[in-house]
């Protein structure tokens, strides 16, 4: 009697167990299939401009002339690649010290107010839609640079300024987590040797958490690299390599959003835009792998 009762109770658990297993496996399969199909689709489209339409690698990566409607059409994407890299690197250079120092303030200097008030405010920044950033950039940042420097105010510096504010929350919140996760006792060890607070932060806290801090910077850069809307609004969108940081130029993202409506699916013009998308995607992968590598180094 007792035995049969026991058996009966086991049965539903097996069903429960298997339902859960099958359902979660289906979800993960769906996710993996989606990701792989997307990568495949972008890669197939992006590479077909080389292998179907016969545009040369050298032209896309080496030429500076972008005339998709010309006769013959020219697809030099170097200005966009340079534009993307320079805006996102500059944005990271502006945002990294700001974000890391803000995190230091929140974790080390004012932990009480930091956790309670400052962190939510910074997370709020992350939730503002990018079109709002772009709009503010266009109405505040661009006129500011126009008044101070020669040129229209549109360009790499305007783009990097807007992007740096956009990626600040990413860098700050990852840096905050990194600093809070400092192995216990290290700070005390440094203080006990007679180090000042500044020496402790500069020589112990920052070096120990450096890989994790860099993870935040790289993720911020990845976000800046992929951001389209806000950048497009303030960069000027001229398809050439600028001679100054305040001159209109383009990025990979801005040229895709601006041109995609004007091309016919399957045409060489359209395929080249896919190539640009493919470059963006490949770069994002590189950023993600860099983050992984940094994290592994941090664990050692």
């Amino acid at each position: 009697m007792a035995q049969s009762g026991g058996k009966k109770r086991v049965q539903p658990h097996i069903i429960e167990e298997w339902t859960g297993k099958i359902y979660t496996s289906l979800c993960i399969t769906f996710l993996i299939v989606t990701i792989f199909s997307m990568v495949y689709f972008v890669a197939a489209k992006g590479l077909s401009s080389f292998f179907v339409n016969g545009v040369s690698f050298k032209e896309i990566f080496g030429s500076t002339v972008w005339k998709p409607d010309g006769e013959p059409p020219l697809f030099g994407a170097l200005p966009f690649i340079i534009g993307s890299f320079s805006t996102s690197i500059l944005a990271a250079l502006i945002a990294a010290p700001l974000g890391i120092c803000a995190a230091l303030f929140m974790v080390e200097i004012m932990p009480k107010y930091g956790k309670k008030y400052l962190q939510p405010v910074i997370e709020l920044l992350a939730g503002i839609p990018s079109v709002v950033y772009g709009f503010v950039g266009l109405s505040v940042v661009v006129p500011f640079y126009r008044d101070l420097f020669p040129g229209q105010g549109l360009g790499i510096v305007a783009g990097a300024t807007v992007l740096s504010i956009m990626i600040l929350p990413t860098i700050t919140s990852i840096a905050t987590d990194a600093l809070s996760a400092l192995p216990s006792g290290l700070k005390e060890g440094s203080y006990a040797l007679g180090a000042t607070r500044w020496q402790t932060l500069y020589r112990t806290v920052i070096p120990t958490t450096m890989p994790a801090l860099m993870t935040g910077v790289v993720l911020g850069m990845a976000r800046a690299f992929g951001e389209a809307l806000a950048v497009q609004m303030v960069i000027g969108n001229a398809p050439h390599i600028p001679t100054s940081l305040f001159e209109s130029t383009s990025t990979l993202t801005s040229v895709i959003t601006l041109s995609m409506g004007n091309t016919v699916m399957g045409s060489v013009q359209n395929n080249v835009l896919w190539t640009l998308a493919f470059i963006l995607m490949a770069m994002t992968f590189i950023f993600v792998f860099t983050v992984r590598w940094l994290e592994r180094r941090a664990k050692r």
Binding site: K112, G185, L186, K187, E188, A192, L193
Partner: protein
């Protein structure tokens, strides 16, 4: 007798509302080991941490009373805590080496205090590691990460690190309780050696350890100092009933 290296007068520590250490007046002699014993939460670690002003780092901690280091009251808010901590080193329960090389761990403190000369630093590193009885194990790998050492070695490295800034006093907060018995024995031997030169104040949960390494013992209970005397007297013939109850294992 021995010179008094450090003494406290009516030292009180409050954590917010909690009165953790009550009116403690103690003298610590040079070249002696003083053990602070008592059950968990009796205030012995809190007391220890006040001695080099490490409680300053804890939010809401308030310390009243006097701590005399020579002719200076170091509990005065005007005191430069950096100088205090240079004279009073500290070692914790869990070894906390910096994530740097063995050499850099030792050179860290001296560099702060203005020693830049490479040869002088080399000399300090060798001396400190020798005194902490870990030179032979580390001399061939000074540039390896300190985290590659075993727990016991890390603890001796931390002791060497605090010696490197040439303190007069070393505070130890259960320095051997996170280590295996062999490493623990090595730390005890080391304490006996270091006694030749430093005033050592050690908090320990291990009564046998207190009996083995210390010259004087102070028994704390609920923030009060119950008894302070020669270790031999405390462990064989304590004058307070509470002390003998604790030592014979009746509570704690």
């Amino acid at each position: 007798m021995h010179n008094i290296e450090l003494s406290t007068k009516d030292l009180n520590v409050f954590y917010g509302e909690k009165h953790a250490v009550k009116d403690i007046s103690l003298d610590f002699a040079a070249k002696q080991v003083t053990a602070l014993i008592g059950p968990s939460g009796c205030g012995k670690s809190t007391f220890l941490r006040s001695l080099n002003r490490m409680n300053d780092l804890i939010d809401g901690a308030k310390i009243t009373g006097e701590i005399w280091l020579g002719d200076e009251n170091i509990n005065d808010p005007k005191t430069d805590v950096v100088l205090v901590r240079q004279k009073i080193g500290m070692v914790w329960q869990r070894p906390n080496p910096f994530h740097k090389s063995i050499y850099e761990n030792i050179a860290f403190g001296p560099r702060y205090h203005g020693i830049r000369d490479k040869r002088k630093l080399d000399q300090i590193v060798e001396e400190s590691l020798t005194k902490a009885a870990i030179w032979n194990e580390t001399k061939d790998r000074l540039n390896k990460s300190a985290l590659s050492l075993s727990g016991g070695q890390q603890q001796r490295l931390c002791i060497a690190r605090s010696i490197a800034v040439s303190p007069n006093i070393i505070l130890m907060d259960e320095p051997a309780s996170a280590l295996d018995p062999i490493s623990s024995a090595k730390i005890e031997e080391l304490i006996a050696d270091l006694k030749q030169e430093y005033c050592i104040i050690i908090v320990t949960h291990n009564m046998q350890q207190a009996a083995r390494v210390s010259d004087k013992t102070a028994f704390f209970l609920m923030g009060d100092l119950v008894e302070y005397d020669d270790t031999s007297k405390i462990f064989t013939n304590p004058s307070e009933k509470r002390t003998s109850d604790y030592i014979s294992g009746r509570f704690g």
